[in-house]
Amino acid sequence: MTEKPIYLDNAAATRLDEKVLEAMRPCFFENYAVATSEFGYSQGLEARETLAQARAAVAAALGAEPDELIFTSGNTESSNLALKGVAKSLGLQKGNRIILSKVEDFPVLHSARALEKQGYIVDYADVDEYGRINPDELEALIRDETILVSIQHGNQEIGTIQDIAAIGELCHRKQVLFHTDATHSFTRVPLDVKKIHVDLITLSAHTIHGPKGIGGLYVRKGTPISKIMDGGFQEFDLRAGIENIPGAVGFAKAVELVTPEENARLSAMRDRIIQQVFSTIPLTTLNGHPEQRLPQNANITFHHVEGESVTLHLDMYGIAVSTGSACFSRSLEASHVMMAIGGDHERAHGSIRFTFGRCNAMEEIDFVVEKLAKIIEELRKISPLGKTGGASHDISL
């Protein structure tokens, strides 16, 4: 056990940056008023201005106008609003088909599943061995009845980045709305709505050292969308409920704190762990695209061992990582992403995801790989896979 835990699960949560907390503090103790209408009292008008500044800052990071950004409670709500809000606004008569990639995260997947119960048909675009969809295959899937395409920007598990410029161009040409889930790519990978035609973008603060419970949805001007939660008229009448001003301010600060230098530092850590693992541990496979991947994500399968055993052993050394193994998931299913890239169950169960953040240091990587090498060796010794003779089985790689 090291003195300080090594947290390599930054795709799940990140440590709040102290500067973010400082920026949020006045919204809790000094002016904690709700944003009022323009005819409200002073504190309400000031709160309104604070919210507007935060909105402008987050929108600017996408090259968007302030009134194209809606604050939500996080990426789950944003993706729910994008899919269900568009479906609600257009109605079934406009068209009843939606296209998703097979590697979308649960907010998109399960929102689409909910729409299926209302009569929509979901078409799934396949991905290649690296997790990328083929724009030509996507084009073939688009029909007259297709109203929306939802293809993520960066993958939550294997880090693969989709060619959303090509997808956006295609959707625009075909006059189909395009939503992308940028929960894991926002500020880490450039995305400018002036250059790339996207109609809706899901954002979240929790992946970039901002607070949990705040996210955003970019809505290009003129996009048909209706609110899905009833209440007041906040957020341009698209998201009812008292505005989370501290969250919005924290989100804006978090966006401001991400720099190209930091992203370069994260990708250096990513490259180092991949290189170190491959040079010291045999029988390993990189999951996801070798180049087109998020700077903070490395995902590697250690063959012949099961992921939950690996995570528990690492936990005993104070190292936190995630795995695509069924035993680690809440539904006892192997990762649908790993299965979609053609991985068999064995490749999914032995996959370990390392995601880096601002608080990680290069020195941590050598320690992690040293412990990993030992753990994998021990687990392989007791595994019946990869041996010859006896009752042992070999699952070909």
Binding site: A326, S331, L332, E333, A334, I382, S383, P384, H393
Partner: protein, 211 residues
């Protein structure tokens, strides 16, 4: 630190007993479920005169509860007669480990099955088993008793999840009392299929959900 298992389980996970294989085992078996991601091989040495298990080894490709159960099962079986060892249940193994989380039942039950299958392998080799029997509802039910309900830590038969069983022309149809989009529906379906598909006179297994 807060680990997801108790101290006994963690001890068996960190230092599993009787790990490895036997050179010329009297009985051996591998039980595995690719869907669940666990696999266990069990090797036994049997004293023919006394029918006592004199040596036992196991190998595991699996999660912590799978490894720990493999370890404890070898300790429980060593020195027992085949009849005694056959009757060791998952519940006994779990109790010897100080309790396992219900959601982990399906991973650890494999080790118990591995032991039973290794004994069966020994019995087959020594002509101690009966001929193949035609698959009946009772046999299907017995097989489904090995599929764990992750919500209860008991099998799907005991927890009344099996609503209907139909066997016709080599096709087994099982209706499970769960909504199709239930959190565990996909996992239960895959496991139930795995349990039934290898019956010698079965060509197809259909698992349906009732709600």
């Amino acid at each position: 630190m807060t680990f997801p298992y108790n101290e006994i389980v963690l001890d068996h996970f960190r230092n599993p007993r009787n790990v490895g294989s036997l050179e010329n085992p009297d009985g051996k078996a591998t039980e595995g479920s690719p869907a669940c991601g666990d696999m266990v091989s069990v090797y036994i040495q049997v004293d023919q005169a006394t029918q006592i298990i004199t040596d036992i080894k196991f190998e595991s490709y699996g999660c912590a509860s799978n490894i720990a159960t493999g370890s404890i099962i070898t300790e429980l079986a060593k020195g027992k007669t085949l009849e005694e060892a056959k009757n060791i249940t998952w519940k006994q193994a779990s109790e010897a480990l100080g309790g396992l989380p219900p959601i982990k039942a399906h991973c650890s039950v494999l080790a118990v099955e591995g032991l039973r299958s290794a004994i069966q392998n020994y019995e087959e080799k020594h002509g101690l088993t009966a001929d193949r029997e035609t698959t009946t509802e009772e046999i299907v039910r017995r097989r489904l008793k090995r599929v764990m309900n992750p919500m209860k830590g008991l099998d799907m038969v005991a927890t009344q999840m099996v609503k209907e069983i139909e066997i016709k022309d080599g096709i087994i149809r099982v209706v499970v009392d769960l909504p199709e989009d239930h959190q565990f529906a996909a996992s239960i379906k895959e496991e139930a299929k795995e349990r039934l598909e290898n019956l010698w006179d079965v060509n197809k297994v259909i698992i349906e959900f009732s709600k």
